[in-house]
């Protein structure tokens, strides 16, 4: 089952399957039914982050250094949480500027500088090649383990000829794959849909394979996680490896590794490729921002159990191979093969994407600028250059893979898997300052970015790369201990005497310090060219909703010239696509001047194929005169942001204005209402005053005119006159009270008194009248005493008024009124309720308005009692009095009788001073 033939046919069969999937994906894309237009596929394609390094190396690292390996995945989790901000901006910039690689991104930001592009491409090439080598090594080693088990796979690559090395052939097959699916079109900004589909599929395969080993280890080799960890806990030297002490550098190393993974996730060329260049729809980021971390968590779930199981069962075997050797040791046939395929898929997906990203950089940033300098190229025939470009890219792919293979064959043995990966991570991190500062700080300058990149990379090489060579035995390792030329402060692992850190955190600290320091420092003292200013503004303001994306070309050229230029570089087909919309319905006239939009479109198309810097050179070669009106772009950008700011302020002002006018309207309404009430009041008062006056006058006239009235009738008339006069004076008294309350001239005579006694007294006072009306008056007072401060006469007036009101509004058939007095915290509450119809919730506050008279809805004219309900002044006056005494008066639902309930609350009087 594990014969070489079976293993090889399965492996190459799997690669053939990838070809099929990629071809299918490309077919669907051509038919317009994209396979990858889903956020889930996007999240899976980002999982190209998990390479063979994850697949085999995580277990190795967990076995040696404990949970520190998880940081490699926690960093990207943090980065993905920021995806809706940072990565979305990157995607938007890249699609606006037709950016195809991170080198292109950085070069475009800093004024389409070709030298910066060259620098980034070179750093990526140096930093990432070992990483590709690592994948090839993983394939070789896993194959050897699979075939040779149980003998140790102690192969020496250098000892056997390369044509016997399987990874050499795998590399060649991958080269064919990448050439077929990675360089179909010249326009690299057209996405590689087939390739992305294959990558997403590979992500599923490696996840399934790893989870299978995990489940097998935990539930077949052991009786579940409890059993496994009980055995681990029983072995102290294993239990130690679960803790932070096993992590190199302790807490500092922990934080450093987190930063390293966070930055590398954003800057690794292959991550930039899948995250930004291959992004179909920026809305996919929302799903990916949690689905991708979930994938990372799932694939890491069993790493520690497998590492621990391997240490328990396999002893001192190579921990990088535990994933394979554990199922092999159980004499299984199928599972090891699945694991091998999982590892193969992890390795190949990384190699495919990384190689495409690197080959784009090499052709666009390194080769094209060189070619453009040779005169001969400009005179070449139509489409010839398009062929050249694709050829360059294909050769670059093969060369990069061969370079990776060479590195693998010559150096690879010296490192364990994770070490190589982390060295590459640290190299990629050098792009982070230039990239992130460029996206958020308009002042970042090309010279600062260049110097920062150079310095950071030099520090990285000195603190990580060269010591690695030394440890491989290529260099004399004494400088590690003593420093070069005996300069101890230059020791690579303890720069400036900083000792005791783990080497990655140490390298990251110094390289990023140098990088960022120079970037900021130099930028602060440099002046940007107009082109760089524009690009900086376009990058920093990329999320600006109204950003104008057209370049304002002011120079002159003819359509014919422009067409010929595109024709030479992109071929006839692509040229026709670019001009398709622009010339539809127009007579094509080669001598007519090209419009600014057409020039901009042509530049964009060239950028997608050749990179920003080269595209600018080419367009400049045909456009005469002032090529680009940079000033006006800048002023447009600044004007739009200014206009937006002004708009925002205007909006704020207008909303303030609307609010103010609303308030005014309400106030006006209120005034009208008050005015109406006042008129009513005057009418009512006149009426009230006139009624008693009329009867007084009538009876007085009778008494005056008719001399011989019987004595009893005369007395009766006099009695009426007296009563009406009393009513008149009571009304006037009320009006005066109100006037005093309003003007604050009401004089009260506050003193300590007992509310219980006062309430009983008031009840007695009205008892007689209420009884006459047939009102059943109940009193519910359980308190002994209720000391308050108040004016007894005024308070009695209030209580009588409440009782009187309640009596008037109680149910006419069987009127009931209840007075209760309770203590509520530090207050006393006196409530008077009736069994009438109650007061509507929205009316409750209005009854305290002056002159307000409650209308009883069911009250029909014929049932109206002879006289008005009252002056409408009793409650306002009562509330005024209570408020003067520091209390409150309000209406609520009657708790017992179902009608209205008026509650008067007064604070408890402080304890009386002891009698002297």
């Amino acid at each position: 089952m594990r014969s070489d033939l079976v293993v090889l046919s399965v492996a190459f069969g799997y690669l053939a399957l990838l070809f099929l999937i990629a071809a299918w994906g490309d077919r669907r894309a051509e038919q317009g039914r994209s396979l990858i237009g889903s956020p889930n596929v996007y999240a899976l394609s980002i999982a190209v982050y998990c390479t063979a390094w994850t697949f085999y190396g995580s277990v190795g690292r967990a076995a040696q250094f404990g949970p520190g390996f998880l940081l490699i995945y926690l960093g990207p989790t943090l980065a993905m949480l920021l995806a809706p901000f940072v990565i979305r901006k990157m995607v938007r910039i890249a699609s606006a500027q037709r950016i195809t690689s991170i080198a292109d991104f950085i070069s475009a930001r800093y004024g389409k500088s070709s030298s910066l592009g060259v620098l980034v491409a070179l750093i990526a090439l140096i930093g990432i090649t070992p990483y590709i080598a690592l994948q090839l090594k993983a394939i070789t080693v896993s194959h050897a383990v699979l075939v040779n088990y149980p003998q140790a796979a102690n192969l020496r690559l250098a000892d056997e000829p390369f044509w016997l090395d399987k990874s050499f052939w795998v590399a060649l097959v991958l080269a064919v794959f990448i050439i077929l699916f990675g360089t179909r079109h010249l326009d690299a900004s057209e996405r590689h849909e087939g390739m992305v589909a294959a990558i997403a599929f590979e992500s599923l395969v490696k996840l399934v394979a790893f989870l299978s080993v995990g489940v097998f280890t935990v539930f077949v080799l052991f009786q579940g996680p409890g059993d496994l960890f009980a055995q681990v806990a029983a072995t102290p030297e294993l239990a130690e490896r679960l803790g932070l002490d096993a992590v190199p550098g302790g807490a500092t190393g922990w934080a450093g590794m987190l930063v390293l993974a966070f930055l590398a996730f954003l800057t690794l060329p292959r991550q930039f490729q899948v995250l930004v260049v291959e992004n179909v729809d920026e809305r996919h980021l929302a799903r990916a921002s949690w689905l991708f971390p979930l994938y990372l968590m799932a694939i890491n779930l069993f790493v520690i159990p497998i590492a621990m199981a391997g240490l328990l069962l396999m002893g001192d075997a190579d921990p990088d191979s535990f994933v394979l050797t554990l199922p092999l040791s159980a004499d299984l046939q199928g599972l090891p093969l699945l694991v091998f395929i999982g590892g193969l898929s992890a390795a190949t997906s990384m190699v495919i994407v990384e190689t495409i990203a690197l080959s784009t950089m090499v052709s666009n940033q390194l080769i094209m600028p060189l070619l453009l300098r040779t005169r001969r190229l400009h005179r070449s025939a139509s489409g010839e250059l398009a062929g050249w470009l694709l050829g360059i890219r294909r050769v670059a792919i093969v060369l990069i893979l061969l370079l990776g293979y060479l590195y693998h064959a010559l150096v690879g043995d010296a490192y364990s898997l994770v070490t190589i990966g982390l060295v590459s991570f640290a190299a990629a991190c050098q792009f982070a300052p230039a990239m992130l500062a460029g996206m958020y700080w308009r002042g970042a300058h090309r010279r600062g970015a260049t110097l920062g990149l150079i310095a950071g990379t030099l520090v990285w090489a000195w603190t990580l790369l060269i010591p690695g060579f030394a440890q491989s035995g290529w260099l004399d390792a004494t400088f590690l201990e003593q420093g070069p030329f005996g300069l101890a402060w230059l020791r690579p692992y303890a720069l400036f005497g900083l000792e005791g850190w783990d080497i990655y955190t140490h390298s990251l600290l110094w390289s990023l310090t140098a990088n960022l320091g120079l970037l900021v420092g130099v930028s602060l003292f440099s002046r940007q060219s107009p082109l760089e200013q524009t690009q900086a503004a376009l990058f920093a303001e990329a999320m600006h909703p109204h950003l104008l994306q057209t370049s304002l070309w002011h120079g002159q050229t003819t359509r014919g010239e422009l067409r010929a230029l595109l024709d030479r570089y992109l071929g006839t087909g692509a040229t026709a696509r670019v001009f398709a919309d622009a010339t539809s319905g127009q007579e094509e006239d080669a001598a007519a001047p090209a419009s600014p939009t057409q020039i901009a479109r042509a530049e964009q198309a060239l950028s997608g194929a050749l990179g920003n810097a080269s595209a600018r050179v080419l367009i400049n070669s045909v456009v005469r005169g002032e090529a680009l009106d940079l000033e006006s772009i800048l002023s447009i950008l600044d004007t739009t942001s200014e206009t937006l700011e002004i708009n925002r302020r205007l909006e704020q002002k207008s909303s303030e204005l609307a609010q103010a006018s609303e308030e005014l309207r309400a106030a006006n309404e209120r005034l009208r209402e008050l005015d109406r009430l006042k008129d009513e009041f005057v009418a009512m008062v006149s009426h009230e005053l006139r009624t008693p006056l009329t009867s007084i006058r009538a009876f007085a006239e009778i008494l005056r005119d008719s001399g011989e009235l019987p004595e009893e009738k005369r007395l009766h008339f006099l009695d009426v006159v007296v009563k009406e006069s009393q009513r008149l004076s009571r009304l006037i008294e009320e009006i005066l009270d109100l006037a005093r309350l309003e003007s604050g001239r009401l004089t009260l005579n506050p003193q300590r008194l007992d509310l219980v006694a006062l309430a009983r007294h008031s009840v007695d006072a009205v008892h007689h009248i209420q009884e006459d009306r047939g009102v059943a008056l109940e009193v519910a007072i359980e308190l002994e005493a209720a000391p308050v401060i108040g004016d007894p006469d005024r308070l009695e007036q209030v209580i009588i008024n409440l009782l009187d009101n309640a009596g008037k509004f109680a149910d006419p058939a069987a009127p009931r009124v209840q007075l209760s007095l309770v203590r509520h915290k530090t207050h006393y509450r006196l409530a008077v309720e009736d069994n009438g119809p109650g007061i509507d919730a929205q009316e409750r506050e209005r009854v305290f308005e002056k002159f307000h008279q409650i209308q009883r809805p069911e009250e029909s004219p014929d049932k109206r009692r002879g006289r008005p309900r009252g002056s409408g002044l009793g409650l306002p006056i009562s509330r005024g009095i209570v408020a003067h005494l520091g209390g409150r008066l309000w209406v609520e639902e009657a708790p017992h009788l179902g009608g209205a309930c008026l509650v008067m609350e007064l604070p408890e009087a402080p304890p009386a001073a002891p009698e002297a």
Binding site: G66, P67, L70, L71, L74, T77, L78, M80, L81, L82, P84, F85, V232, A233, A239, L242, G243, L244, A251, W254, A255, L258, A286, R287, S289, W290, L291, P293, L294, M297, L301, I304, A841, Q842
Partner: protein, 72 residues
């Protein structure tokens, strides 16, 4: 959709929370809590929590605009 600034704020807060959970000194707590380190378990639980919150935040349909019932 949640109103954009609100979602931004929540997402940034979640990012800060995750950073806090994944870095010292907080990771020292489960590491020193018992004789055998609980750090791996803690990391996975915290990780799952952060992912769950992110998923809820990104996939959650927006609640209707908050409005208190009119007071009467």
């Amino acid at each position: 959709m949640l109103s954009a600034p609100r979602r931004r704020e929540r997402l940034l807060a979640l990012m800060l929370l995750a950073t806090l959970l994944f870095t010292p000194p907080l990771v020292l707590v489960p590491d020193r809590a018992a004789a055998i380190s609980w750090l791996p378990l803690y990391l996975f639980v915290a990780w799952g929590l952060v992912i769950g919150l992110a998923a809820w935040l990104m996939e959650h349909p927006a609640p209707p605009p908050e409005r208190t019932p009119p007071e009467e």
